[in-house]
């Protein structure tokens, strides 16, 4: 299978420049804060305005979360509905530590990461005692416990429905304020790249191969004398810890914690990003997250334009409700493009591009085969 792709790569013109594509994408992304490019209709004002940089950076942060989710869903075949718990930990714990306990940034972040790992370990160890739909329901329940805890504001710790803003005092000066949005942009991009490379290393490691083996056929992995439970737990913990990292950068970008970050809806959104981008590659979910976030923001903007405001309510109202549109998109994608963007690329001439970006492009549908 692999050989076949390599052959195709040689024959297709793009193949020769394959290695250059990620570099080009990277250079372009790094250069964005210096580009006063105007793309009317797509972006308001110049591309490097704080607002647009913020839009892209939040997309990156969500991309990290989607990528971490896909290690579990796409690569191990485990469908969890609890991912928001770990992302939410990354959002809430530093805020609480900095604001309520008046810690310094370093210890607060170290504590958050440790807590994220332990939380994932505890939830995973318990929930992975079940499989398939049981696992989906159980993780959903645990995440819901987190959401309830945050929403009910025990001891005034989380700020309840209002959320909690991040104090600026303990933050380094280069991270604070709208003028420093480009710094945050680069920081988020750097974390994204680091997480991406780590994930690439992981999925090509022996453990990564076992994950994919579990996805294809858990029973066979067991026959090889390996314990799928431990490997799934490893995937769960790593994926959870990376989601916590995503939560931290997301927090820096939004300068505050909002209960939406721990909600079950957020996990569903991550799943949607993965489905949009395609679960068969590392870059697919990142692209899916960027697209999702962009549309989520822009649809509301478009809905406010006179052209849309003039539409009859039956057409205009759904546009003001991105979740409705995403629900429909979700259904259509699952029915007609189950492999998402990455799959569309893999299927045609763009396959070398997909491979260059580090995706494993299976010849057939790379669907997770959990024992649902």
């Amino acid at each position: 299978m692999r050989g076949e792709h390599e052959l195709m790569g040689v024959h297709e013109g793009l193949g020769r420049y394959r290695a250059l594509i990620p570099v080009a994408v990277l250079v372009a992304l790094l250069a964005v804060p210096a580009l006063p490019l105007r793309l009317p209709g797509l972006f308001d004002g110049p591309l490097n305005s704080p607002g647009n940089l913020q839009l892209l950076a939040v997309g990156f942060a969500l991309g990290i979360a989607a990528l971490s989710y896909n290690l579990l869903f796409g690569y191990t075949g485990v469908l969890s509905f609890g991912h928001a718990l770990f992302f939410g930990a990354g959002v809430y714990l530093p805020t609480i530590a900095l604001r309520k306990w008046r810690w310094d940034l370093g210890p607060a972040l170290a504590f958050t990461l440790l807590a994220g790992v332990l939380l994932a370990l505890a939830v995973g160890a318990l929930a992975l005692r079940t499989k398939g739909v049981y696992f989906a329901m159980v993780t959903l329940a645990f995440a819901q416990a987190g959401a309830v805890l945050v929403g009910k504001d025990p001891g005034g710790l989380t700020g309840g429905e209002e959320g909690l803003s991040l104090p600026t005092r303990p933050l380094p000066r280069w991270m604070v304020g709208v003028v420093n949005t480009d710094n945050l942009y680069w920081l988020t991009l750097a974390v994204l790249i680091a997480v991406y490379l780590l994930a690439l290393r992981l999925i090509t490691s022996p453990a990564g191969h076992v994950w994919q083996g579990i996805r294809e056929n858990e029973g066979r992995v067991e026959l090889l004398g390996l314990r799928p439970y431990l490997f799934k737990l490893l995937a769960f913990v790593i994926s959870g810890a990376l989601a916590t990292v995503a939560g931290i950068v997301y927090l820096f970008l939004l300068s505050g914690a909002n209960p939406r970050a721990v909600s079950a809806d957020f996990t569903v959104t991550l799943l949607l990003m993965v489905i949009i981008g395609g679960s068969g590659s590392l870059w697919g979910p990142v692209a899916g997250a960027l697209l999702y976030h962009y549309l989520n923001v822009r649809l509301t903007v478009w809905a406010g334009t006179p052209a849309v405001a003039g539409l009859p309510a039956i057409l205009g109202q759904p546009l003001r409700d991105p979740l409705f549109i995403f629900g429909i998109v979700f259904i259509l994608l699952v029915l007609f493009f189950p492999r998402g963007l990455a799959g569309a690329f893999a299927g045609r001439r763009l396959r070398p591009l997909a491979r260059a970006l580090g995706g494993t492009v299976p010849a057939r549908e790379p669907r997770p085969r959990g024992e649902i």
Partner: protein
């Protein structure tokens, strides 16, 4: 004492609502192995259908008895119709791809719930009910709203009806056999696809009915009514044992009571106790209280 009675009856009413949701989920999963995330949306639509019906029959803040009785018919019908449409239109194409079935029900749940917000705006609306339903009765000194009793009564009737359906009817036989071995049911000359549609519609009807009673219980409806309760229905199904109606009923009672008594102490203790119960059941008995080995 009167506080205890009030909390217990409120908890049982909550349990009844969870049971109406969980019973359909459990039935659908038992036969079709589909975890139906759209179930909460059927619940929400049942609630909105009931609200709309009552509003049409008797405009104003107080619903009439006639409107309520009509809603009792319309809500389950809307749930059943939506469910049947989803099964025939979407799920049937995906029986070979179980995870994608879950994803499609997720998308349907998202779009359908949000559609209520598109049509009727996202804000919560008061649910008009006839005066006798909103009034309270005094039981051992506790003043309990009548809709609690109605809810509990409805759940008992549904439980009895489902047990009869499963034990005594041919479709019930098909459902029980299909949960064990779908292919063999086909090999006996039974149209499993049609059984799937019927069971899915039945589950949708129960969810729609649950939506009506849920709206009466909370006194208000909003687009997220179903998805919030769906999570507790999931917990009920896992604790009770997937595919066991009796297990769902038992677990619903435990969860409803635990939640209400927990909430009596602090606002968040109830939900926390519920998740704690789930964790304990998972540790001690992962297949649920009355679940069969799998």
């Amino acid at each position: 004492m009167s506080t205890f009675i009030l909390i217990a009856l409120t908890g049982l009413a909550l349990a009844a609502m969870y049971f109406l949701l969980a019973a359909g989920l459990s039935l659908i999963f038992g036969l079709m192995d589909v975890l139906n995330f759209a179930h909460g949306a059927f619940f929400t639509w049942g609630a909105y259908a009931a609200w709309w019906t009552i509003g049409q029959v008797s405009p104003g803040a107080r619903g009439s008895t006639g409107g309520f009785l009509l809603a009792l018919l319309v809500a389950p019908l809307v749930g059943a119709a939506l469910a049947a449409a989803v099964e025939v239109g979407l799920l049937r194409r995906l029986y070979a791809r179980p995870i994608y079935q879950v994803l499609v029900t997720l998308g349907v749940g998202l779009a359908l719930s949000q559609l209520t917000s598109v049509i009727w705006r996202p804000d919560a609306r008061p649910f008009p009910q006839p005066a006798w339903l909103a009034a309270t009765s005094t039981v051992l000194g506790a003043r309990v709203p009548n809709n609690r009793f109605l809810l509990i009564g409805a759940a008992v009737v549904v439980l009895a009806g489902m047990l009869l359906f499963l034990r005594k009817t041919r479709y019930g036989l098909v459902v029980r056999a299909g949960a064990e071995n779908r292919e063999m049911v086909q090999a006996l000359g039974i149209d499993v696809d049609r059984a799937f549609t019927v069971v899915f519609a039945l589950g949708g009807a129960l969810a729609g009915l649950g939506g009506l009673f849920g709206a009466a219980y909370f006194g208000a409806i909003d687009p997220h009514l179903g998805s919030v309760n769906l999570i507790f229905a999931f917990i009920v199904v896992v604790i009770g044992g997937l595919g066991s109606i009796g297990g769902s009923a038992l677990a619903a009672v435990i969860i409803g009571l635990a939640q209400q008594f927990g909430n009596y102490y602090t606002t968040w203790a109830g939900d926390f106790v519920v998740v704690l119960l789930l964790a304990v059941v998972l540790l001690v008995r992962p297949r649920g209280l009355l679940g069969a080995k799998h």
